[in-house]
């Protein structure tokens, strides 16, 4: 079974956003990393970029597939996880911790509140 921690919220396209205050950490779910398989490349925006909910913020490639990444909540990028450029496999190994992708500030709290809860997201991936 896949881990779906409840200290964050999820969107249908499998990105998560943490809910314990700013900065909000964004990444992809355990289910998503497993679906993708061996991740070999991640493209991320730059710190300072303003992103709107639903906007493409990057690309993730496994050996077999290329997928777009979508911003779960509007905000300003305060940091990106540079470690993924050399070690994209961290997304497979630790999607909720070392495999994080973005930190967002000035986040739209109303959007965050409307994302799927861990339970709702788990139902979707069953």
């Amino acid at each position: 079974m896949f881990e779906t921690p409840d200290d964050r919220k999820y969107q249908e396209s499998h990105e998560y956003a943490t809910t314990d205050g700013e900065p909000v950490t964004v990444g992809i779910s355990d289910f998503a990393q497993d679906e993708l398989g061996d991740i070999v490349f991640v493209e991320l925006p730059e710190a300072g970029d303003e992103m709107s909910q639903g906007e493409e913020f990057g690309v993730i490639e496994s050996i077999k597939a290329v997928s777009d990444l979508y911003v779960p909540v509007s905000g300003v990028v305060s940091a990106v996880n540079d470690a993924l450029f050399d070690q994209p496999e961290l997304v497979n190994e630790s999607p909720y911790d070392e495999g994080w992708m973005l930190k967002l500030e000035d986040v739209d709290d109303a959007e965050l509140a409307e994302l799927l809860t861990a339970d709702e997201y788990s139902e979707q991936t069953e």
Binding site: G37, D38, E43, E61
Partner: protein, 363 residues
């Protein structure tokens, strides 16, 4: 249209993920592409390749029919020989590539050849139509649904085969096929493959597939995902992707398999290819390594100074090298290893270089 399922489908069902390939629902991944790839490079892996076609040709004119429909010299084959060849149209365009086996220990020539997945029916029709047109006395059978095919590949593959065979036959020499028994099951065992490693491809009756598969318990089960990364590292062509009569029409010379064309034989496409050999191809199929972060994929443009000069037909991350690798077509003038090119990945040109294939140095 319903997907065709390999005879081992139920056995794989709970431990593999599947993909549609050539109209077949095939295992793409068991453990992970990376671990399966490593198993084949370092020990041994086993693939279900029952989606490959099997067409059998026999009768007094079997040799002539085969000779006139593929590019290699079929008349030169001895019983038990395997030969890679292209199937070309009148214009010399590659329709498919195939391995032709002249089955051993039979006085009258009998050939089994292996068209790619989903091509068996069209290939069978092509053989029958030409046989009738030329008035040849040969029997052609599409036996794709009668045969299962598994590939056992890797440095430890031959030891595994030796272990699994229950008759005292020597392993076939490279590019040869022998009759054998795998765990009591009558099989054809051929020393061929698509990974660049030593190993065999085994043909058995579909009902016996499970016995043969489970006779190789020590080998890692591998899916089409790692089969693709393994063949890409070797620079081997994928039919329907690196060449395709509609989407990517190429002569064998452009596709880098001119060595499988014997212009001293008579075959469909020979005239056009004799001319092409004279003038030389415009494009060449080359290896490409990116010198910037990014992965070249099928369909990406290749540019020089901003001008599109070619395109990528296959690309992936090489599990062995840990570097992105690709295959594609460029003009012959840009095909020398060391030539600087760019690959356009999502609108951005990435520095890249033409390299020789195989990408990995081999023992």
């Amino acid at each position: 249209m319903a997907l065709r399922k390999p005879p081992l489908y139920d056995l794989h069902a709970d431990r593999a993920t599947f993909t549609d390939f050539g109209g077949w629902e095939m295992p793409v991944e068991f453990d992970s592409i990376r671990t399966e790839h490593e198993a084949v490079r370092e020990s041994a892996g086993i693939f279900d390749v029952s989606h490959m076609g099997e067409v059998v040709v026999s009768g007094p004119d079997a040799t002539e029919l085969m000779q006139r429909l593929v590019t290699a010299d079929i008349a030169a084959l001895d019983p038990g020989d395997a030969q890679y060849a292209a199937i070309t149209d009148e214009a010399g365009i590659v329709l498919d590539d195939t391995i032709v086996y002249r089955l051993p220990a039979l006085e009258a020539p009998r050939y089994l050849f292996v068209p790619n997945a989903g091509h068996d029916e069209a290939t069978f029709d092509r053989w029958v139509d030409h046989r009738d047109e030329w008035g040849l006395d040969a029997e052609v059978e599409n036996e794709t649904d009668l045969w299962a095919m598994v590939a056992v590949q890797g440095p430890d593959a031959l030891a595994a085969v030796d272990n699994a065979t229950t008759v005292d036959t020597a392993a076939p020499a490279r590019n040869e096929i022998v009759a054998s028994e795998v765990d009591g099951v009558e099989s054809w065992v051929a020393r061929t493959g698509y990974t660049g490693e030593d190993g065999v491809e085994i043909l058995c009756a579909t009902d016996d597939a499970e016995t043969v598969w489970t006779a190789f318990e020590g080998c890692d089960p591998c899916g089409l995902g790692s089969r693709d990364t393994l063949r890409t590292e070797m620079g081997f062509l994928l039919s329907g992707q690196d060449f395709d009569p509609d989407e990517e029409p190429r002569t064998p010379y452009e596709a880098g398999i001119g060595w499988a064309v014997d212009l001293d034989t008579e075959f469909v496409g020979r005239g056009a290819l004799a001319e092409a050999a004279e003038t030389g191809p415009e494009d060449a199929f080359v290896g490409i390594e990116l010198r910037e972060r990014g992965i070249a994929r099928h369909g990406h443009d290749i540019t020089v100074d901003g001008d599109v000069v070619g395109h990528v037909t296959s690309g992936t991350m090489s599990p062995t090298l840990g570097e992105p690798i690709a295959l594609g077509y460029v003009p012959v003038s840009l095909s020398e290893p060391g030539t600087d090119i760019e690959v356009v990945v999502r609108g951005t040109g990435k520095r890249a270089e033409v390299v020789s294939t195989p990408f990995i140095r081999h023992k």
